[in-house]
């Protein structure tokens, strides 16, 4: 059985249980931090999917556009590769300005995307797959616009502040950076959830998600709701850009959104696509499971394998994701 020996050879998979145990809480909190970023992006996928049943493949480019805007704004404000010697007030003001710029850029590009690429298709009653190809086409287009403009390598790092430990939980250090990202992301997610579930606009979004035709008959302006959905997804992607660059100051590169986008999309499906809370849950899970996988198996590629295996297994038992899919039915 020499032929099959390579499958039986187990040296390629080793379990580092000690490290896993030792780093469990560190990995959990780090995973939650990055998971919060996935979650913010995943909400964008889930909102658009809920309303249009469209996998907005170009959402990763909406995100990266915001990240570019963020980096340009911060660079313009004097941020660079070394931590700025700013006071707290000035730093916060600068970060807020940069985040607003990123939200604006992402929001605008998301709206442009809808108007230029998707709306003409809707008006012509195009099949669903045509939307998917348009999304892929826009994804390519935006990526390579950045490639032509900014080149193949990442933007120089912009460092906002050096994370410092604040306190310890279960032996794991929690830094101020982790707190900022997680708390701010949670607040944004709660606001989004409230917005969709409590406001008039949100009611429109849910109505269109549930039944576009009836919603139109009931006086909901469908086109405006769709535009608003894209805008909201874009704004959250812009916020995600701030936290992403905070964590990875040199992560802004023309194709940098792609891998992140795939994982965020997986997160949205895992939680139940079309469901905002599902997207959040999925994002956090993908973040945490990825970290566990890397430590337990000593290889970042394994963490991706595990993330997808978890996805498949969950979908086998809950075919519409952990929290089920409908945006229309998700009422508070």
């Amino acid at each position: 059985m020499h032929q099959l020996a390579f499958l039986a050879d187990s040296s390629w998979i080793t379990f580092d249980v000690d490290s896993f145990r030792q780093q469990f809480w560190d990995n959990t909190f780090n995973g939650l931090t990055f998971g919060a970023i996935y979650a913010l992006i995943a909400i964008g996928y889930t909102l658009v999917y809920g309303v249009l049943q469209l996998i907005n493949f170009a959402h990763s480019e909406v995100f990266i556009t915001g990240a570019y805007a963020l980096v340009f704004t911060l660079t313009g404000l004097g941020f660079s590769g070394s931590p700025p010697g700013l006071g707290a007030g000035a730093l916060i003001a600068d970060l807020i300005v940069a985040m607003l710029a990123a939200m604006l850029a992402s929001g605008v590009i998301a709206v442009v995307l809808e108007r230029v690429a998707y709306r003409p298709l809707r008006n012509r009653g195009a099949p669903r797959l045509a939307f998917l190809i348009t999304a892929i086409g826009m994804s390519f287009t935006i990526q390579y616009l950045f490639f032509i403009w900014r080149g193949a390598s990442a933007e120089p790092a912009v460092i906002m502040f050096v994370p410092t430990p604040v306190f310890e939980v279960f032996g794991a250090t929690i830094t101020d950076q982790q707190l900022v990202i997680v708390v701010a992301a949670i607040v944004l997610m709660v606001l989004t959830d409230m917005f969709v579930n409590r406001t008039r606009f949100g009611r429109g979004v849910r109505a269109v998600a549930q039944d576009p035709d009836t919603a139109t008959l009931m006086g909901v302006n469908k086109e405006r709701v769709i535009l608003l959905t894209f805008l909201l997804g874009g704004i959250l992607a812009g916020a995600a850009a701030l936290f992403y660059v905070m964590k990875v100051p040199s992560g802004v590169v023309f194709n940098g959104g792609f891998v992140l986008g795939i994982k965020a999309f997986a997160a949205a499906v895992l939680g139940g696509i079309g469901n905002i809370r599902g997207a959040v849950l999925g994002g956090l899970l993908i973040g945490v499971v990825g970290n566990y996988g890397q430590t337990l198996l000593g290889n970042a590629q394994w963490s991706d394998v595990i993330a997808f295996v978890v996805l498949v297994v969950v979908l086998m038992f809950r075919p519409t994701g952990i929290l089920g899919e409908s945006l229309g039915k998700a009422r508070a």
Partner: protein
């Protein structure tokens, strides 16, 4: 926006603690335990450029009926930067040659493989079919080189790779393949000796990426480091940006140095996240990491970085650096000088009156002279007979030379 308010409050706490704590990352003096850090390594401000290095201009009296050499390799795609470093070096050599020799104008044809082996077969076939091409600079990556070496061999077209370092490339019996730098098997052990010798590290973490280059180099260095690195290994993946699991592992192991076996695109954020987490050891990277882009992307964290590279620092060869800057609008990058030297060899062959591929191949095979980067003499497999590994470190946001390490 109450989210912002919360964020503001938390950032305030963050910044306050930051101010009190001071910028820990900038204090690099951790050489208390007998190990040396990047800061302790003396800078060497002169590169041993061979006095009689062969330059593309020659004596300016060359005459030929026009000739063509080609560059085949990535110009676009995710790996474009490395390819552009090379192609600019090659272009510079050709420009200088043509300017100095009005009687012999050499054309440079460029072919874009995107670093993709499948694409490369079609491109290289085209290159070999164009009868006027006498020699090729490329291909930059090991994968595409493996896919196309046989095609060059079949048509007897000589090619010099300025950057493919997989040791297996010279073991295919190809007689048309030449490598203008030392392979992974040379750099790995040299880097290991440097880490345990000059850096006096007794515990090392080796982090590798998933590339041919990263894995090969990691195997080479692990073979020499042995027990010193056995307890701390990690593997990351191309395109990864969040290294928190790796950072945690390294901080738990508390090594004196880490060796990152891969490219700067992942190495820079890894080093930055390591430094942010309070890691005080030295970050050692190979030629794939040694690039100005690394410093830009790692920011002030890059102050802990040391590089090993089988490449001479092009930016320290002043005339070359100045001319390159004028042509490309940026300082020479990794392998720019290798591209320049490789092109020079072919240009001088043309100046010597060579008009066909067979004599070009023969010329390169018997070549024995200094280039700006090193002496070029090849053994029959296409491997350089001698290759030196050089050391570099980051100082005040610039890559500076710290002497040879092997």
């Amino acid at each position: 926006m109450s989210g912002v308010r919360v964020a503001r409050a938390i950032t305030a706490v963050a910044v306050a603690s930051l101010v009190i704590g001071g910028c820990a990352a900038n204090n690099n003096s951790s050489s208390s335990g007998g190990t040396a850090s990047a800061a302790d390594l003396p800078v060497v401000s002169e590169v041993p450029v061979p006095a009689d290095a062969v330059l593309p201009a020659g004596d300016g009296k060359a005459t030929c009926a026009g000739a063509t050499i080609a560059y085949a390799g990535a110009e676009t795609g995710a790996n474009a930067q490395l390819g552009l470093n090379i192609v600019n070096g090659v272009q510079l050599a050709v420009n200088q040659h043509n300017q100095a020799n009005p009687g012999c104008q050499v054309t440079l044809k460029k072919f874009d493989t995107e670093g993709d082996p499948t694409k490369a077969t079609g491109i290289v076939t085209q290159v070999t079919n164009e009868a006027d091409i006498l020699g090729v600079i490329g291909l930059p990556f090991s994968g595409e080189s493996k896919a196309t070496g046989g095609i060059f061999q079949q048509t007897g077209l000589a090619h010099i790779t300025p950057s493919a370092t997989n040791p297996g490339l010279t073991q295919n019996g190809w007689t048309t393949f030449f490598r203008a730098l030392g392979n992974d098997a040379v750099q790995g052990p040299a880097a290991a000796q440097f880490i345990t010798g000059k850096l006096k590290a007794s515990k090392v973490c080796v982090v590798q990426d998933d590339s041919d280059y990263g894995i090969g180099l990691a195997n080479a260095i692990n073979g020499v480091l042995g027990d010193k690195a056995s307890g701390c290994q990690d593997k990351v993946t191309t395109g990864q940006r969040d290294f928190s699991a790796t950072v945690t592992k390294i901080n738990n192991a508390k090594p004196d140095a880490i060796f990152y076996s891969g490219y700067y695109a992942e190495g820079a954020p890894l080093d930055q996240q390591l430094a942010n987490s309070g890691f005080k050891g030295t970050f050692v990277g190979p030629d794939g990491v040694k690039d100005d882009k690394f410093i830009q992307q790692a920011g002030s964290a890059s102050g802990n970085a040391v590089f090993t590279c089988p490449c001479v620092p092009g930016e320290l060869v002043p005339d070359f650096a100045k001319a390159y800057q004028a042509l490309a609008g940026s300082a020479p990058g990794t392998y720019s000088l290798e591209g320049y030297d490789s092109a020079t060899i072919m240009l001088r062959a043309i100046d010597s009156g060579i008009k066909d591929r067979a004599s070009m191949l023969n010329y390169i095979k018997n070549y024995n002279a200094d280039g700006l980067s090193k002496r070029f003499v090849w053994d029959p497999t296409g491997e350089l007979k001698t290759s030196t590994v050089y050391g570099y470190k980051v100082q005040n946001g610039k890559i500076v030379y710290i002497g040879t390490i092997s």
